[in-house]
């Protein structure tokens, strides 16, 4: 058992290496820079490669290339860097190229408050790239959870052949906290399924019976195929046929939306007998957890619902929450982004309030306690 003090960004790299990351391409930006620095230091030790590209766009482009060449690949960024990556996130989605994109959120828009925390990219992570698509977005809340969620991000990327976005924020990315990693950590590691047919029979985008995604050959292994951001048929070559487009684009959405049971994870805290729920994630969920403890000690029946998978959302669970709770507060370090999703789902059954902040300050437990009490005593 390794017990040590570890920084959040450091745990992300440790998790990525455990998952089998062999390639990192990116461009450093606060507060994500430690992820690049540590990847540069550690990847050569495991036979991997690190490359600093000329900007964030090139960073994700090379990440996708590394993955097509067969290596588990990652890039990390923040703020304006995440904006720059959006086009190629879409390219990764339509070409079904597994990779992990870490966004250590900071205050925006634009260069905003570069060293201040925010949770302002919740909707950008979902809809930042253009066109209809689905996407997997994960958001851990502690250093230990960053380690395991990064492993999971790689696993889901490989399993569903899709870019996975790992959201962190300045607070959990930079803080150091105790982490325990078992010596023989037999955590599941998933690798993409490779073709078993001969190269001449290989159809790069054909889903075999019983599979969710096509088998993926690595470039350089003799399986030649075409990769394009255009709508393509099973061979990978472009097609303008509406049936082909319908089949491909719906398959890309369905492979995620139809597997929510496998993808969606969350934590419930003190919800069993609660009639008030707080929905919160990432660093701010830690404030919310303290607030729940404090409100409980004052007699309020409050609990916390913490989505770890942000997208796709925990639709069934949020619907149940709406039916059970008299009130739901969505507490997030933005002007009310996830509130829109929670209100869409739970708002049919109960009143959903939002509480947020966009001035670069953290939300404290005392603030949340005051918000709930003011509402309840009104």
């Amino acid at each position: 058992m390794t017990v040590k003090l570890m920084q959040g960004n450091e745990a992300c790299v440790a998790g990525a290496l455990k998952a089998g990351m062999k390639f990192y391409a990116g461009y450093p930006i606060t507060p994500s820079t430690e992820i690049a620095e540590l990847s540069a230091e550690e990847l050569p030790k495991v036979g991997g490669k690190f490359i600093q590209m000329e900007d964030e766009i090139a960073g994700i482009a090379a990440t996708l290339g590394g993955s097509l060449a067969g290596l588990k690949s990652m890039t990390a960024t923040s703020g304006p860097g995440f904006s720059l990556k959006q086009e190629n996130i879409g390219y990764g989605i339509i070409t079904e190229t597994p990779c992990v994109i870490v966004n250590v959120q900071r205050s925006g828009p634009s260069t905003g408050l570069p060293t201040s925390p925010a949770q302002g990219d919740i909707m950008q992570a979902r809809w930042g790239t253009h066109g209809d698509h689905s996407i997997i977005v994960l958001y851990p809340s502690s250093v230990k959870e960053i380690y395991y969620t990064t492993i999971r991000a790689f696993n889901l990327a490989e399993k569903y052949r899709t870019p996975v976005i790992l959201l962190l924020d300045e607070i959990i990315g930079h803080m150091r906290e105790k982490i325990e990693i078992p010596e023989n950590d037999d955590v599941e590691i998933i690798d993409r399924k490779k073709p078993t047919c001969s190269p001449s029979e290989y159809k790069a985008f054909k889903v075999q019976d019983g599979d969710v995604v096509p088998e993926m050959a690595a470039f350089g292994e003799g399986y030649r195929y075409h990769v394009t951001g255009l709508v393509h048929d099973e061979t990978g070559f472009p097609s303008g046929n509406e049936l082909v487009a319908d089949k491909l684009l719906n398959r890309l959405i369905d492979k995620i939306e139809n597997n929510k049971e496998d993808i969606v994870t969350y934590e419930e805290y003190m919800l069993d007998d609660a009639d008030i729920a707080i929905v919160s994630f990432g660093s701010i969920a830690r404030s919310a957890k303290s607030a729940v403890d404090s409100l409980r000690s004052q007699g309020y029946k409050v609990g916390l619902f913490r989505p770890i998978t942000i997208w796709p959302s925990a639709e069934d669970q949020l619907e149940e929450l709406g039916k059970k709770m008299k009130k739901i507060f969505v507490v997030e370090l933005n002007a009310g982004q996830y509130f829109l999703e929670v209100d869409r789902i739970a708002g049919k059954h109960t009143k959903v309030n939002k509480y947020g902040k966009i001035n670069g300050d953290i939300i404290t437990p005392d603030e949340i306690v005051a918000v709930v009490k003011e509402d309840q005593n009104a």
Binding site: T115, I171, H174, K178
Partner: protein, 175 residues
């Protein structure tokens, strides 16, 4: 053990963040929970810099230090800036070059941390280690054994003996 919240303040380059990391690592060696956070940006170079540590037997949810139980200030600027964040009944540890503030609701230890490092040991960079020794003598927040182990695993190779001496000087500054 209650939840201890400590704020180390001074000037950028005084090793306060390293000091915070060492204290948190010592607490973990003692089997406790510990969390360390720091400020970034303009504050991290020159001006008033700070590192924050939370130590507890229980789970640490909220990761930030608000009103602290112990404030270390190595410079006048940082003491002026952060004094109001020290809880009533809290402990203030200041370098003796800092003017002792007028607050009668706290315990104040004014000790020669910087001059011990610079004049007695001839190494200004060990001020943070001397401060950790003094804080240990005042609070016993971590065990002496864990503190020394944590110091020795963080400092550069070849400076182990110097840092052991610095720690001892710190222990003896407060008796």
């Amino acid at each position: 053990m209650k939840r201890w919240e400590l704020r180390f303040s001074g000037a950028g380059g005084q090793g306060l963040i390293t000091g915070g990391i060492i204290l948190a690592e010592a607490a973990i060696l003692d089997g406790k929970n510990a969390l360390q956070s720091q400020s970034y940006g303009p504050e991290a170079r020159g001006g008033a810099s700070k590192a924050e540590v939370i130590i507890s037997d229980e789970e640490i949810s909220f990761p930030k230090v608000g009103r602290c139980d112990l404030l270390l200030s190595l410079t006048q600027l940082s003491c002026d800036k952060y004094l109001e964040t020290l809880k009533p009944g809290g402990i203030l540890v200041i370098d003796d070059s800092v003017v002792t503030p007028e607050r009668d609701d706290i315990k104040i230890f004014s000790i020669p941390i910087l001059s011990t490092a610079t004049t007695k040991l001839g190494k200004p960079m060990v001020a943070n280690i001397i401060a950790l020794g003094a804080i240990h003598s005042i609070t016993s927040i971590v065990s002496q054994e864990s503190l020394q182990k944590a110091v020795l695993s963080r400092v550069p190779k070849g400076t182990e003996e110097l840092n052991k001496v610095a720690l001892k000087e710190g222990y003896e500054l407060v008796k």
